[in-house]
Subunit: 214 residues, 8 copies
């Protein structure tokens, strides 16, 4: 097998190809990351579990800035920050922070510093209301929530910016695996809430970058 | 076939058997209702569609108090009201009113007058907040919502009473048929929200009666 | 039942409450539209089927600008166009045009003229490639596709703007009801594609408005 | 990330926020529990697996009263018992006891002593009939059952109190993961049976507390 | 197209091929029935809706003994009854009678008279208990129930004979279309309950015939 | 909206674009067919229901060779037959013939005459065995079956040619809508059985054409 | 918690309560088995994995006759064989043997010796045909198959006895977890095939015992 | 249990029975392989995980040519290559290579050398376009893709040969387990794309062999 790195992607859509590590062997992940590094001088690796990180050759892993909570790694140097007032990332619970950090670090990898606001789930509505004005100032807000995902609709009625819902697999029983939060995001009674795949903080960040680049 | 009316049910659990008309032939529905009427002097018929109502023999249907929106009919006289400050019924949208009325009329059939509050969905949060104190006074609140059912969780964090969620089949796409609202009710991040089957206003009323009888 | 129109919504999020007609009785739909009209001097009605339109009182329906393909109606005067280079709407097939027009008319109701490009499904790839430069100029592109929804990923790799996928219920067998196109949108291998509920052209337009207002 | 403990919750709805440990890192779980402890002088932790318990810092875990079967822990002192004749908890099988104990301990954490009755599944109907009078005396009965959940309907026809079904994930094949028991609870032919999420003993207890507080 | 009637089937398995009418055109249904009639001198037609019956050529339909409730028709003469103490058919509700009659008439078509017992659902347990001794005498009992199908398990613990569950599509919400009753039959906590497809009274009768022939 | 007919398709893949009529308005279907006719001098229309056919303008429909069972129409002249010993089409039941004919007529539209063999379902195994040698001679066999789709596996073990399974929506209960037959085709224990979408006789024919063209 | 062993079950339905070990703690499984042993002098334990067996106290496990493939154990002495020509058990593949042995050993625990026939899947049809006469002699045949379960229908057309299908979770992709084989059993085109839950060899044996006792 | 190897299969359909190792015990896998080896002088084993390989007796495993990525092993000598210009295998990503290699090695086991082309997913469309001419020359192309499977449709519009889609379980959230890629393959808007079960590289190779043998 051979890697065909999409080195032309930044020119076409403004975002470099990241390496999705889950499903790849160690050898494949390293080869893909080196191809990206060769093209762009840096590379973002996602869904790199602590076990997969530990299995990497030391000569490679020592070159990574790895965060186990978000399971992301950066090979090469981070870029300068060129935007810091455009994107907020809000989570319903603390278990959603891992996915939120995948978004935060993906944004940061493209030079965008974001504002992370955690634990504002609607069971205690005052928490969201207390950060409402702060969030209302951002053109783009990424909302990260699992279980039944009610946060998406309540935020959807209160905030004017572009809203990107990221349903998470946090939950059990009917909310296990994120399907319940996903259907809440898709079926929201608040107008204009958009959605990514379950646990896809990376995709939410890419969408935010598209909005900022536009 | 023969009807075996459960005439002993009021003694056991305090609620008379109602006649679920969907799925029954005209002849079966009439026979079941007459058996209940014979035992208790009155009978509640549910899920009696306008078409099914029109197909009833005139001698029978003229004895009914029929409401097409809730698709319920009462054969015989309504009882006196013996309770009127215990139960509120709140809906997210106006399309949920049909199901809410099934609950209201079932309660009324057992002598309980309830307080119907409509159109308080969370997309415009001020609507729910404006009725919060009114709803917080009731020991039992029935919540009726379709689409993504975010109302259940927001109300769950604001109201102290027993909360009975009724997911409705109002919606389309992933929210068609009520599954999305149902999973939101079941997976609510607010503690102690309970749920009935989709569109089951009758069951919600029966549960409220159980709580009041206790 | 009483309508609680969310007249404060434009102030909070910049979009007026529209009337979703499916699931409402004729009486409820008219009351909701009149409440919106009273607050804002105009009103958008969605999912108003030809049958439901025909059932409206003539005195009311004669005040509507109704389009049966998109099932939308406008009560009151259309606003001036204030934006016309920001949003394109592209469809995979001609059967997807109905949903696309719901987006186009919702945008137009808020003063945004959009560019409709039809029948660019990937089975004949040259069709999409022939409009690629035209679409690449728009900050926001709404993509409307049913069946397996491959358009979302191909466009996702070619276009730099904010991409809003609208899966449609066009198809049969495993693609009936839009679930297949929806999962393709959510699981796209192209980074940063966002999604609405199935057939939700209205929601896609609202999301585009959020991006433009930001 | 920061914890936003909902310390106002007891005032609003009469129940303190518990810490759901599954999905949280050790550090997050401890921080959440300490925040609750700081606000209320005690804290309930749920879904704390033996593995997660073992991973806690010894200085913290030594302050916990931990029960591995129910996977619950209490930080701080248990309150006095203020109610002991109001709630029974009945299980279909012995494998359901773990979930039942989550309910029992949650109730006890709020000062309510409950009556646990185990192994009364309907395959041997005499077992339920032999405890029928004992259960019929309680205003609230929590029913815990997996597999096909037939207990919910049989108890629903025999007991007058408020019935809270907790479907469990006990089973295999079509009953694996609790969906079958859940649909039996939701679709029960007995009137007024209410339901929680699968395995949600905590939620059932909270609902019972709502009923008792009313 | 040509019909290939399986005229050898009675020799192999003791049951003649019946004509499943749903899905067939009028012409196909008639041709299939005539082929069976030619081979065996009589024919059973199933799932022949009143509309499909009305569309048959009068010269053909006048030769049928048609029952609209069970949607079955017999072409040719009924056989003698050769067995009448072996099979009982019991239903949970009256809406299940249509499916039960499909079983009763299929059995009768093969010369077996069965005992139909209706409306013994477990919501009023005394009903089943009052017919328990009657049903316990039969070597084969066909159980017909929709909604949540709790009857299967309760009867499974009380009756010694071969139990054949027929889940019906009677219900709504999560019990619509019979999936909930089906999973209850499959996952029954009572040992040795067997199941047919949803609404398959015909198959249940054929299985009973296999047991009797054995 | 405008049609973008893929007139280049025959050059690329050897098959002309057909018009899928379901989901299209009358006006759209006619426009699409005329565009294809303009490019190629003939056009195949699929999924044209008798109701949709009746709604066509008479001037257009009079130019069609329409078959209501397969719901296909041909505009313009049929081509010469250039192949007649390569493809057989076999059905499990007579209700599957409609889908089989869609395949037969699509093949014929491209000049391929096929051999239709009906009613060889495995419940009477001698039927399939009696045509085994006939079918074993064809390089390509299209297998059309609904219900549980056991034909696919049995034929898969007996026939050497390329096997294309077409699951049909013939059935009820768990086999309604074709999902059961589809999973049997996909999960067949016989090696190398391939599958199309449910009811997709058109697609099966196109695949056969690809194999013949190769 | 306390065990309520159903010691009356043999009198009611002729089968003793077995102990389902999955889901039970070691302590619960031992207590349940001892209660059964106390009542009947022997006990059958099912779904006792090798890991669970190894975790049992040595003093208890040394009294068991344990078979790891079927995951069954017998405490106490096996009964005499009183029937040996009535039941055959046939499997499609060798991976299905584990489930088949659960049936064989359950039958043997009740004194019935059965005839096990393995690896007769329909991909090589001669295998089933070569044992057809042998199987056709049995009044009851248990059929065990995973993947797409085509064996159920082919055997259903060839064998006259009572047929009990046991779908197994053998397979991957769409056949993983046994749903595909289950729907094939339920939707079989052969008349009178009955079904148990996935992997439920125990239930199939109990049903066979019901048929033999009748 | 006994193995009944289908040694007649090559004569009937031209492909030898392979041994599917998942679900089999070590003893069963070895016995099945030896039976095949005895009949044909060689044997292909599939889904033999590294763990299962390590558990094999050394005397047996030393005779195998094992590839851990594709989890295939060959017992005995590989045959000569007799075809090398007929089949190409293309993957969307590098994580799909494992499944592609199962196809490549199965083909090679039957003497067919194939052309493996990796990492041509549509997110970077130039990758597929750059290999288009190479792939267009093959009569059979196996397409291997996970996530949303858009590759199937794009290739379907560009390549003339027989197209065999193999959806893979590569992905997460809604694309986990391969269902999304599968529905894209089945519902492709490109005509004549055929599909195997998820991850079934073996089946795709067998289908290709059928086409080549025809
Ligand atoms: N966490 C992620 N979730 C979704 N897509 C991703 C993620 N990380 C990388 N990708 C994209 O997945 C696509 C396929 O990845 P690969 O298999 O590495 O070629 C690439 O275009 C990546 O940009
Ligand atoms: N709308 C309803 N939803 C659910 N259950 C109902 C409804 N109406 C009546 N029931 C109950 O359904 C059970 C079965 O009804 P039946 O088939 O009429 O005997 C009865 O015990 C009724 O109390
Ligand atoms: N019955 C059918 N099933 C599946 N696809 C079809 C069918 N009939 C036509 N098509 C294809 O569907 C694609 C989209 O159709 P259209 O929406 O007409 O552009 C075209 O490429 C047709 O070749
Ligand atoms: N990877 C595979 N996927 C699907 N089927 C397979 C695979 N490997 C072998 N088979 C077939 O699976 C059938 C059943 O396998 P067995 O259980 O080994 O008899 C055999 O006919 C094999 O040809
Ligand atoms: Mg919290
Ligand atoms: Mg409103
Ligand atoms: Mg087209
Ligand atoms: Mg037939
Ligand atoms: Mg009744
Ligand atoms: Mg027990
Ligand atoms: Mg084999
Ligand atoms: Mg890549």
């Amino acid at each position: 097998w051979a890697i065909r790195h999409d080195d032309d992607r930044p020119r076409r859509i403004g975002i470099a190809e990241a390496v999705l590590c889950s499903g790849k062997t160690t050898e494949q992940a390293v080869a893909a990351a080196e191809a990206a590094f060769a093209a762009h001088g840096r590379c973002l690796m996602t869904r790199l579990s602590p076990e997969a990180f530990a299995a990497l050759p030391e000569a490679f892993s020592s070159r990574l800035d790895y965060d186990p909570l978000s399971r992301t790694a950066v090979l090469g140097a981070w870029p300068e920050i060129h935007d810091q007032g455009s994107v907020a990332v809000a989570t319903a619970g603390t278990a959603d922070v891992a996915v939120a950090l995948e978004a935060v670090r993906t944004l940061r990898f493209e030079g965008v510093a974001s504002d992370l606001v955690t634990d504002v789930g609607v069971a205690g509505l005052w928490r969201l209301l207390s950060v409402r004005d702060r969030l209302a100032d951002y053109p783009v807000v990424i909302l990260v929530a699992g279980m039944e995902g009610a946060l998406f609709s309540v935020a959807g009625g209160l905030l004017p910016g572009l809203l990107i819902a990221v349903p998470t697999s946090v939950g059990y029983g009917v909310t296990a695996a994120g399907k319940a939060a996903l259907t809440s995001a898709l079926g929201s009674c608040a107008p204009g809430v958009l959605t990514t795949n379950i646990d896809n903080g990376y995709g939410a960040a890419c969408a935010a970058l598209r909005a900022l680049n536009a």
